[in-house]
């Protein structure tokens, strides 16, 4: 039995999405820009998908812009904001634990002379509300913070930044990389004062190669991809229709997020209880973190060895910190883990399809690994 518990890396495409995509590939293959019937049909499918994604973010369809990935959404948000607001300030606030698709943009902006402030995670792994508030000043043009940390699942106080921006009267836009939170936590960017939000289809049982950027109505950023003017000029290029429609179908198939959160919390608690009984297993995720992610360490068994061992039994999890050798995760360091614990950290990530049986298989696998490797 295959046990896939690496859902923060990517997820299996749900049947609803596969069906919708197959239909787009074989029948409704028109270009939504075409004015004939085939094109109109595709345009309608595009609109439906947009409505469905908007539904999950409690926003209007016009505020959803499809992109080719979470990375593309992040790049557009950062460069698009900076391009639009560069005359009004020079300061950008972000965190040191963002995804590379944010961090690399920031490095490139630093090289161009922007002042980038990297907030560091506090001892609970989250960005401190106080530091966040203090970092924003009148010269700030962009604040970009991830909703949920992808390594330990800790939730960041993103909406506090909206208040800080308002209070200082800065022109800053607030961007949130919500790729890990989307479809797991109820998100309301409009209500939370978030101007831009990136999401991705393949983390929520949709296909790879499609994401979306929420842009609050009235917010003006500059496109960085120029061309045929698709997606209201924000993201030129013929729409990836099968991907977009698959994304829409995956959103429509999502269960009630609050209920699902509850179910996942009990799956997490069940797993934690059993994991804690194993000798030497240490849990790195805090109890109030996103229940879809459990980060744990088995000191003495390097992450890579545990992953390879479980992989041989078709149990799939990932390293606790998606980092290269000799480069220890900043989040895991911030929450005060010892080097031995960081080097043995692994990440288990659930989806709505994860079952108690999956968790049990994993726990048995870890138990076997401990018997085999610990000395």
């Amino acid at each position: 039995m295959e046990v896939y518990l690496d859902n923060s890396a990517t997820t299996k495409v749900c049947p609803e999405a596969i069906n919708a995509m197959t239909q787009m590939l074989s029948e409704q293959y028109g270009n939504p820009s075409s004015t004939h019937k085939k094109g109109i049909e595709a345009r309608e499918a595009l609109d439906t998908a947009r409505k469905r994604v908007a539904g999950i973010l409690s926003c209007t369809p016009e505020e959803i812009y499809f992109t080719t990935s979470g990375t593309a959404a992040n790049n557009t948000a950062v460069f698009g904001t900076v391009e639009a607001l560069r005359r009004r300030g020079n300061r950008i606030v972000t965190t040191s634990i963002e995804h590379p698709s944010i961090l690399r943009c920031m490095q490139s902006l630093e090289a161009k002379g922007f002042e980038v402030v990297y907030l560091k995670p506090a001892a609970n792994g989250s960005i401190s509300a106080e530091e966040l508030t203090n970092a924003v000043n009148r010269n700030t043009i962009l604040v970009s913070i991830m909703a949920v940390n992808n390594e330990i699942g800790v939730i960041n106080p993103v909406s506090l930044a909206a208040k800080a921006i308002k209070r200082t009267g800065s022109p800053a836009l607030l961007h949130c990389d919500a790729v890990q939170a989307f479809g797991k936590l109820p998100l309301r960017p409009g209500k939370d004062g978030i101007d831009l939000m990136s999401v991705s289809a393949h983390k929520v049982h949709g296909p790879k190669g499609v994401g979306a950027l929420y842009i609050r109505k009235g917010v003006q950023i500059k496109p960085y991809l120029l061309g045929g003017g698709q997606e209201n000029g924000m993201f030129s290029g013929t729409e990836n229709m099968p991907g977009i429609v698959g994304f829409g179908a995956a959103c429509a198939a999502m269960p009630d997020l609050a209920k699902q959160l509850e179910k996942t919390t009990s799956l997490r608690n069940y797993s934690l209880e059993k994991l804690k009984r194993l000798p030497n297993v240490e849990i790195n995720s805090a109890p109030d973190s996103l229940p879809y992610i459990i980060n744990l360490s088995v000191p003495g068994i390097p992450s890579e060895v545990l992953i390879n061992f479980l992989s041989q039994q078709e149990i799939y999890i990932s390293a606790g910190s998606a980092c290269k050798r000799g480069h220890r995760s900043e989040v895991l360091r911030a929450i005060g883990l010892s080097p031995a614990r960081i080097d043995s950290a692994v990440r288990i990530s659930f989806s709505r399809f994860s079952t108690d049986a999956d968790a049990q298989a994993l726990i048995d696998g870890i138990e076997n690994a401990i018997r085999r490797f610990r000395r």
Binding site: V305, N308, F309, S311, Q312
Partner: protein
């Protein structure tokens, strides 16, 4: 226009009675490398081998780039083939090389007349063709000593060949002419280079890779497949044996003194690879070791591992600096693959302070700590899985 490829073999021309069989070997290698592009005919004459595409649609650019990786070829050039008529030769030369000539400043024409009945002598051919090309290429000058482009016209029995500058071939000896040897390949930078260097001297490669799952990942094995894929563009087909090494490595960790981990591991590798090599009719082992690069590659350490090898061990990188090895690995396109960061068997259970001045006596003592070593070695040999690369 009909085009062919002319091959000059280098060192081979110096060999005596073996020359013909070496040439046949090289043709066989070329055939293997070109077969997927279409049908070719091969003709031998003196020091030249002519490769003739049987079909005009064959991609000769790709054929040339593949032949540039065949060992034994000193130089090669593409040539246009035409009728043995001075007017036709003139026109063909202009059509074939006109564009190349317009991009250089100086040229000269050389003529070779194998057919002595051809009504023009070599100097006359040069004059005729050179004059024509000069007249039709604005800004071009003749320089007989140091031309940018040399146009060669060969008048043979059946037809005339016209060619421009030659390309340098890969050199060396045809693969197969130097017998079979077995490369120990880890996934690092050095071993693919070592394999390439020995293939250059005509050795047909077999390879042994030691995998220690779950300490090493499947990605490390995939990496070795890709590395050998690059080497096989030069070395031809490679037979790779992947040995399951986990048990032995765990035994080393459990029973041997830590400072001797690496040397003991390498001694076992030599024994296992040696046994496979002998079984597969190889006459030598090849490693990527470079003197003093790491603790297991000191003179003392090499002495300790050599003792276990049942065959001569070739270490072509032994006297090279890292940057020299890297330079070759970039040239043969293995560098970017080699630097992917997966654990390989050599980095599992690395001792903190390995012994650099080990003695054979110490190495034997360490190895003897593992009482069932013979059995474990045999099991490792039996575990080898064959995969054909290239």
């Amino acid at each position: 226009m009909k085009e062919i490829i002319l091959i000059k073999n280098g060192e081979l021309a110096l060999k005596g009675l073996n020359r013909s069989s070496f040439e046949d070997m090289m043709i066989k290698n070329m055939r293997h490398r070109l077969s997927s592009l279409g049908a070719f005919r091969y003709e031998k004459s003196q020091s030249t081998i002519t490769v003739i595409p049987e079909d005009e649609n064959i991609d000769l650019d790709e054929a040339v780039s593949r032949l540039l990786k065949v060992f034994g070829i000193a130089a090669l050039s593409r040539a246009a083939v035409c009728e043995k008529d001075i007017d036709v030769i003139r026109n063909t030369a202009l059509e074939y090389l006109g564009e190349a000539l317009s991009e250089v400043r100086t040229f000269k024409v050389e003529a070779k007349r194998a057919d002595k009945k051809f009504p023009f002598t070599s100097p006359q051919i040069c004059e005729e063709i050179g004059g024509w090309l000069l007249e039709h290429t604005p800004g071009l000058r003749v320089d007989v000593h140091n031309p940018d482009l040399t146009v060669t016209v060969e008048v043979r029995e059946k037809s005339a060949f016209i060619r421009g500058n030659q390309l340098h071939g890969a050199g060396g000896m045809p693969v197969g002419s130097g017998g079979n040897a077995c490369l120990l390949i880890s996934g690092g930078i050095d071993s693919p280079v070592a394999g390439w260097m020995m293939a250059k001297r005509g050795v047909r490669l077999n390879a042994v890779h030691f995998a220690s799952p779950p300490y090493t990942s499947e990605l490390a094995e995939k990496k070795v497949h890709e590395l050998l894929g690059k080497v096989s563009e030069y070395a031809g087909r490679i037979r790779l044996f992947t040995v399951s090494f986990t048990e032995l490595q765990e035994a080393i960790r459990d029973y041997c003194p830590e400072e001797m981990f690496t040397i003991t591991m390498r001694r076992f590798m030599m024994q296992i690879a040696g046994a496979i090599a002998i079984r597969e009719n190889c006459g030598a082992l090849i490693t990527g070791e470079s003197l003093g690069q790491v603790a297991s590659q000191t003179l003392h350490a090499l002495g300790c591992t050599d003792e276990c090898a049942p065959l001569p061990v070739f270490r072509p990188c032994i006297g090279m600096d890292k940057n020299e090895i890297v330079e070759i690995s970039r040239k043969i396109d293995t560098f970017e693959i080699s630097i992917r960061p997966y654990e390989d068997c050599c980095t599992v259970f690395t001792p903190k302070h390995p012994r650099t001045r080990a003695t054979v006596e110490l190495a034997r003592q360490a190895e003897y700590k593992i009482e069932n070593r013979e059995e474990l070695i045999q099991r490792a040999i039996d575990s080898a899985v064959l995969k054909i690369i290239g």
